[in-house]
């Protein structure tokens, strides 16, 4: 739980970019798939809770970056998300912005982290 809360604190600012980036790699994804993907790729370091993910997805949808389609799977309605054209461009710029930010943060954190590494 502690890990989750700390990760959640950083994830909150980058979640939008993460989701856009993941969707840019796949044609379409549904909510649970995204959480699983994040979990698998980070080895469980970052765990997205549905409580944090879905508001972001809905916000992006409202901004016109995502398209949704509901497909019935196993008797349940599954909502798939895919990027729109503007969503694609936004994903690219946001990813670049985040990478530059991480680089900058890394530079800031480097002296202290060197000892631990």
């Amino acid at each position: 739980m502690e890990n989750n809360t700390t990760s959640n604190e950083y994830v909150r600012g980058t979640l939008k970019t993460i989701v856009l980036n993941l969707l840019a790699e796949h044609d379409r994804m549904y909510g649970y798939e995204i959480t699983q993907e994040v979990k698998d790729r980070t080895g469980g370091a970052i765990a997205l809770t549905f409580g944090a993910l879905y508001p972001v997805l809905h916000k992006l949808e409202q901004e016109g970056l995502l398209l949704t389609e509901s497909v019935e799977v196993d008797g349940r309605l599954r909502k798939y998300y895919s990027l729109t054209h503007t969503g694609n461009e936004t994903a690219r710029t946001k990813t670049n912005d985040l990478e530059r930010f991480i680089d900058a943060v890394r530079l800031l954190l480097a002296p202290k982290n060197l000892a631990t590494e």
Binding site: G31, Y54, D74
Partner: protein
């Protein structure tokens, strides 16, 4: 992959509904939780434990936050109308009208402005669409049937004038030919002196007699002496109006009056019309006393004129008028009076 049984899914769904999750979010969250649960089942966990873990992660607060976030998101799109009609009958027409109001106004403004502009610009547009008439353009083509125009020949200048003008006025003057007497023709001879002498006296006498004859009738007192002097030589055929001795009815005026009374009959038309008056009958008494050329000079009509003439013609011979003792023809006018009783 293991599937969740229907009743399990219903259980999760009921849990979500109990925590007042927004109905719009329900299918998505349900799917997410179901997927998680199935994943856990795959790992071999019993459903009871899974459910407990699920309730722990998806606690009431988390679900409430989700709902609130969603509501906030929708609120950004929500208009005043949605708030006004929050708990009202939206199927009633007013909501649709209000919802479409903005669009309607926008459309009507665009249409109105477009129409107004079109109205204002119409003359210019029309002028632009219709090409300007060029000076060499032909506006109308009228097919004209060929008309034969015959040149009127100008009146030929009178050639006679030219010919006449130079000709000078000439007078026939021939040089007299000298010929022997025998060949000279006598054309017209002036009256001979002897003829003039013989004629003049004779014409003078004749003229005198003619003049008297013409002038005499209108003049009352013609010197009779002169007439008699000339009249001797005159023939008796001449008709006189005034003579020395007027002609007379044989037996005198009384006898004539008696004759007329005896023979005259009052014509019926005249008596019926009550006509009366005098009929003047003119006739000539010959030198032998016979009545000739009896006519009514002036009558009263209604058969009276004819009756008077008839009776006059019936008269016996008169005593002819005499001029210098010689009986002559005398014109006589006799008035015959018709009088009703």
């Amino acid at each position: 992959m293991k599937r969740l049984q229907e009743n399990r899914i219903d259980q999760i769904s009921k849990y979500l509904q109990a925590n007042k999750l927004d109905p719009e979010l329900l299918p998505e969250i349900l799917d997410h939780l179901a997927c998680e649960a199935e994943e856990s089942l795959w790992d071999g966990k019993p459903f009871e434990q899974i459910y407990r873990d699920m309730v722990k992660t998806a606690d009431a607060q988390t679900l409430l936050n989700l709902s609130v976030d969603h509501q906030n998101l929708l609120a950004m799109e929500k208009s005043l109308n949605d708030i006004v009609f929050e708990n009202r009958n939206k199927s009633y027409g007013a909501y649709d009208l209000r919802k479409g109001y903005g669009q309607t106004i926008q459309r009507s403004v665009v249409m109105g402005v477009a129409f107004f502009l079109l109205l204002v610009m119409f003359p210019k547009l029309y002028a632009r669409l219709t090409p300007d008439p060029k000076p060499e353009d032909i506006a109308y083509i009228v097919e004209a049937t060929p008309v034969d125009i015959i040149m009127e020949e100008p009146p030929a200048p009178p050639p006679a004038k030219e010919e006449l003008a130079p000709v000078p006025k000439t007078v026939k003057s021939l040089t007299p030919e000298v010929l022997p007497d025998s060949k000279v023709e006598m054309e017209e001879l002036p009256p001979v002196v002897e003829d003039l002498e013989s004629a003049q006296p004779s014409t003078a006498t004749v003229d005198g007699a003619d003049n008297i004859e013409v002038i005499a009738p209108p003049v009352a007192n013609v010197p009779v002496a002169k007439e008699t002097a000339v009249g001797v030589e005159k023939r008796e055929e001449k008709e006189f109006v005034h003579v020395e001795q007027s002609p007379q009815y044989a037996g005198g005026n009384e006898a004539m009056a008696a004759f007329l009374r005896k023979n005259l009959k009052y014509p019926r038309p005249a008596s019926q019309a009550g006509v009366q008056g005098k009929v003047f009958v003119q006739f000539t008494v010959g030198s032998d006393g016979k009545i000739e050329n009896a006519t009514a000079l002036k009558g009263i009509g209604f058969g009276c004129d004819e009756e008077a003439v008839r009776v006059v013609k019936m008269m016996k011979d008169w005593m002819p008028g005499k001029q210098a003792g010689v009986p002559v023809r005398v014109r006589f006018t006799l008035p015959i009076a018709f009088q009703l009783d």
